[in-house]
Amino acid sequence: MFIDASMTRDVVSIDPDASILEAKELLKKHRIHHLPVVDKDNTLLGIVTDRDILRALPSAFLNDEEVQRDTERFARHKIKDIMSRNVYTVSPTNTLEDALLLMEKVPVGAFPVVDQHGKLQGIISIRDLMRAFINVLGIHEPGTLLCILAEDKLGTMKRIVDAISEERIAFGSILVARHWEEGTRAVFPYLLSHNVAHVKRKLEKLGFKLLNPMEWYLDRLPKND
């Protein structure tokens, strides 16, 4: 749940006085797109992205000679001349949801992770968030998806979870689709088992309606008149 668990710890960073060419090489070598800029004490000073570097270097349309001449000229410029100093950061004790919602709001692909002293502890990118939520959904593990229509009433979720747990079946995840119909919710338990037919029958006996997930989905699509 915390950024600490999902961030990349061996973060590649760069010195503010390093050249733009060095930065370009680092990005290429490590196949990354974001380079936090830190001082000798590992304090975060700014960030440089592959777009910043592309903007700073000569056009792809120049000929070889022009490229050679211009590259040498630009290579003498330092990272501190092109980096962004206003960096969006998160802390190791922020949650994954914090990172997710922040990334929805701001146009960046990664956040440096800094502690309360401003020291760089890691970096979390959109890929790291994706991996974390794949784990949350449990979809790397073999399982079966159920779709249950349930009354939007206190205790309903508990009855569903109890009914399933009594059968000694583990949950990968449970998703709830809100605002299904007035008074009902669609609950999607992802069960880590191949043997769920008896659980479905049990839930039906308890009064729950089980849907084919596609019926639910197709019903939600806009109708063509």
Binding site: P142, T144, R168, L218
Partner: protein, 316 residues
Amino acid sequence: MKRTGFLFDKRYMLHDTGPEHPETPDRLKAAYEGVEKAGLLPKLTLIPACRAEERWVKTVHAEGHIRRFEEACLCGYGEFSHPDNQICSETFDVAMLAVGGIIETAKLVMEGKLDNAFCAVRPPGHHAEPNKAMGFCYFNNVAIAAKYLQMEWGIKKIGIVDFDVHHGNGTQHIFERDSTVYFYSIHEHPSFSYPGSGREFERGSDEGYGYTLNSPVLPGQGDKEYMEIIERDLAPAFDTFKPEVILVSAGFDAHIDDDMSYIKLSTQGFSWIMKRIVEMADKHSKGRVISILEGGYSLERLPELIKNHIQILLGM
């Protein structure tokens, strides 16, 4: 009419999965009765099961897996590595008999004594991984058969068609990097169905890239989609690959009356699929098809489904 083998042994029913499990001995009883009542037994070559040599199981499975499985059964455990995999003290022996019977069947086909065959075995195999039992499966019967055919008979190219409604994850993994075994699976879309794998972008890796093909089918779909997909995906793939033998992971759980999936394949739909596979075998593999039972849990429908399946193999 073709010379079709029928592997069946009463001992396959000794694998007891307990009271709340769909993979029951009654499935085989239903299958057998369907064949018997239709008067097909005299037309078939009955193959008795025999215990496999462990060296064949080892072509696919880790020694540790085999030993742990054997021990779990000897110690009287009720399950092996997951509650899905219910076992009894006979299960290991039954699994060895299943593999052995299938190997004997393959031998008869390769010796030219049979044109094709259906193996009514339990436990099923296509979810079994080299080092893990999964989804009611312990040894990957079809994968071991493929290895046997290649190593003992020098078969270079094997085509596997898995039409069980669940993705054959075990078989896919075993041959993922292998360009000599083409793995094709058509199954309910993994977002809705166990085991959650078998997406379109899974095409194999390394040398095996392009020799794995998955066709996910959305819940609620049936005959029409299966026919379109098999013509669009499988037929051209095998036209190019030209398998020398076709192995079929024949699961019957895509049936509309089978509650292990939301797929609505009809009895006629299954017949269409098998006829098409036999056509492909006639075209590329000298007619050599070995079909091996996987899933299929509707005791009401299994008799007719198995009867039809065997009639198609016989060429009736």
